[in-house]
Amino acid sequence: MKLHKLATVLAFGLCIFSALANASAAEDRSIRPFTVSIPQAALEDLRRRIAETRWPDRETVDDQSQGIQLAKLKPLVKYWGAGYDWRKAEAKLNTLPQFMTTIDGVDIHFIHVRSKHPNALPLIMTHGWPGSVFELLKTVGPLTDPTAHGGRAEDAFDLVLPSMPGYGFSGKPTETGWGPDRIAQTWAELMKRLGYTRYVAQGGDWGSPVSSAMARQAPTGLLGIHINLPAVVPPEIAAVLAVGGPAPTGLTDKERAAFDALSAGAKMGNRSYATMMGTRPQTIGYAINDSPTGLAAWMLGHPGFSRWTYDNSDPEKSPDEVLDDITQYWLSNSATSAGRLYWEYGGRSVVFAAVERTLEIALPVAITVFPNETYLAPETWARRAYPNLIYFHEVDKGGHFAAWEQPELFSAELRAAFRPLRQDF
């Protein structure tokens, strides 16, 4: 009986193995240069649709509690259809070296900027939802060219910025199974294909579970990770949050503040978008694929944008900042395919240590806590969640989209966090 079972397992394993071998043998492993060039007709169609937006009536409250406010959205959409110029965004991408390579059957788009400094540390950085490579672009200079941005030559990184499968200019998976674990495997293959034998990984939002999965898988060459949306919430706290219970006793001030933020966020419905995409991404997909305004509102509904004005009052968060990102989702027709990542994860939150299996991560982990993040990870919880925590720092500026909002500070954090790992390099 046992022997028979073993034989079956072996035979099955062999089948899988040979299938994989065949697939990889057949797969085109080439790395092709890539340039973004959207046809003019697509831009005209977008402008026409924006101009024809059919609006609902105004929300019945004077705050954001019913969602994106009509008076805040209308000027943005008006500018999107009249003043905004996608070609400038396209130029931002095209000034950087972009490539395409096929991994595990999916075309992966990525930006690859090598530092001019020798011994630069290779770094693969992963965006999130509703982000894209656009949220990371401002860090390209500081990270790859530190001497021009207040850093030292020995802080230099070679930077790899992929678009996740189903996002931006990467291909869209045509089968299920593309969760963070599979993306992590794909990133390891990408770094290998680029010839990197020693590298680090970084991410916030979805980039955090992807980077954490890489650390858990520990592919050859990965030295450590930095994350800015860590999964530190302990199981007993997650259990209380799941049923909306009161704060447990014995929490430190910072733990209590984190609990309160998560609890209030849940009660205020901050994750309703995740619940929807986690269960029915296709259902919401029709509206946001067909209506530019619908797409903009859906993306701006992410709590990470709640402090953003996108009205020119804050040059760091101008309308162009969000519109580059939203327009890329529109033009790459990826609103629905991107939402499926939540479905792959069953709508679960990425901040729970047990969900992310953080205790299985043996590689070094670095964390920066940005003050306007959706919750502030307490160091006590972080040390429990990540056995090999090599860096923990709370900074005074920045929110959920840290690389986008505070690129210099973010870059300085990465330099400091990864400095100890360079000695192994």
Partner: protein
Amino acid sequence: MSTASPAPNRRDFLATSATALLATSAGAAAFNFTSSQPAAAAEASSIRPFTVSFPQEEIDELRRRIAATRWPDHELVSEAASRRTSATLAAGDTQGVQLATMQKLIQYWGTEYDWSKCEAQLKSLPHFVTEIDGLDIHFIHVKSSHQGALPVIITHGWPGSVIELLKVIDPLTNPTAHDGTAADAFDVVIPSMPGYGFSAKPTQPGWDPVRIAKAWTVLMKRLGYNRFVAQGGDWGALITEQMALMAPPELIAIHTNMPATIPPEIVKALAAGSPPPADLGPDEKRAYEQVAFFYKFGLGYANEMALRPQTLYGLVDSPAGLASWILDHDADSYALIARSFDGEPEGLTRDDILDNITLYWLTNTAISSARLYWEHRQTAKAGFFDAKGITIPVGVSANPSEIYTAPKSWTERAFPKLLHYGHPPKGCHFAAWEQPKYFTDDVRASFKTLRTA
């Protein structure tokens, strides 16, 4: 469809000429006037006739948008999995409304579908508008030709409208033409909820189910009814139950086809995510599993509307987006509707579905209707299906394909004065729309003993 003629009201057509003029000349905005406009022409409590009418350009514009639909890529799960009903549906089976179904729907909607038929059907019924609590409420009011007809106010739900109730108007008001006797006759009042259909959209918060329930009692009394019953499914069930909890003396009983029967100890077990308690009978266990699954995997749309209704801008800008949102209500009704677009209609035709969706589109009510979920969340003291302590007489239809089929044991506990426990052989969430005969049978049976007065 109804042979009943519009009933002249005691306030009669005091302002008929003025309001009818307003209603027709305002075109698309006819249904959308706010209290401040017509109130000037008549006292607030007047009952004004209302005409359904949309300009042709609105229909043309809808068709143009339908034809310009920009599609997402195909979902990544199989058709068989996507169509599973609540009996077998498991986590990960569905990603939502299937692309193939949507493409069939959009193809039909943009070419063969004819809204004017629905409009003509609506126009054949007597419509009125009256201001209650500062808001214009639209309603259909059909009186029976039979003496002693029992007045009933029937409330639709989301994503429904008065359209889901049209098929039961004649059986209820004209029973002798539908296997009934004159003693089964009802006078029927079918309002559009605030923010829905032809009723006005609230511009201030506060229109929760309790306030709607109060407004319905005002409406019935304003119509001169001092002894009436109420009926509802979905939100209509919730509102009808709220009316029963208020128990105004004029309300003698209710009937619900989405009864809230879950006992307190089961509510607790569900909230804790526990497995079904060991002592449940087979019907109770099935009900428990249905509700547990729905809470975990089926409430995304309700959750979004309860928390961020305004963020759903895409629903009012994209006909395809609106249609898919409306189709994805619950697993069993979705499977039924999807089969209908495959050419296998069983109770709901393609036209039924599109009449309702087109009404939402033309009245631009996708978001104003969604706000009812938000309103409910602000004030609700109990879950949708939790027993609420109703003491007046109640009749129930426990449909086999409802979100959960209320077990008889729970129903008897929830409603101590249970008039009737109907268990139709067939029927999903939209009972009156899908199975009007079974629905009518249950409504008649429920109220039979109350007609002596």
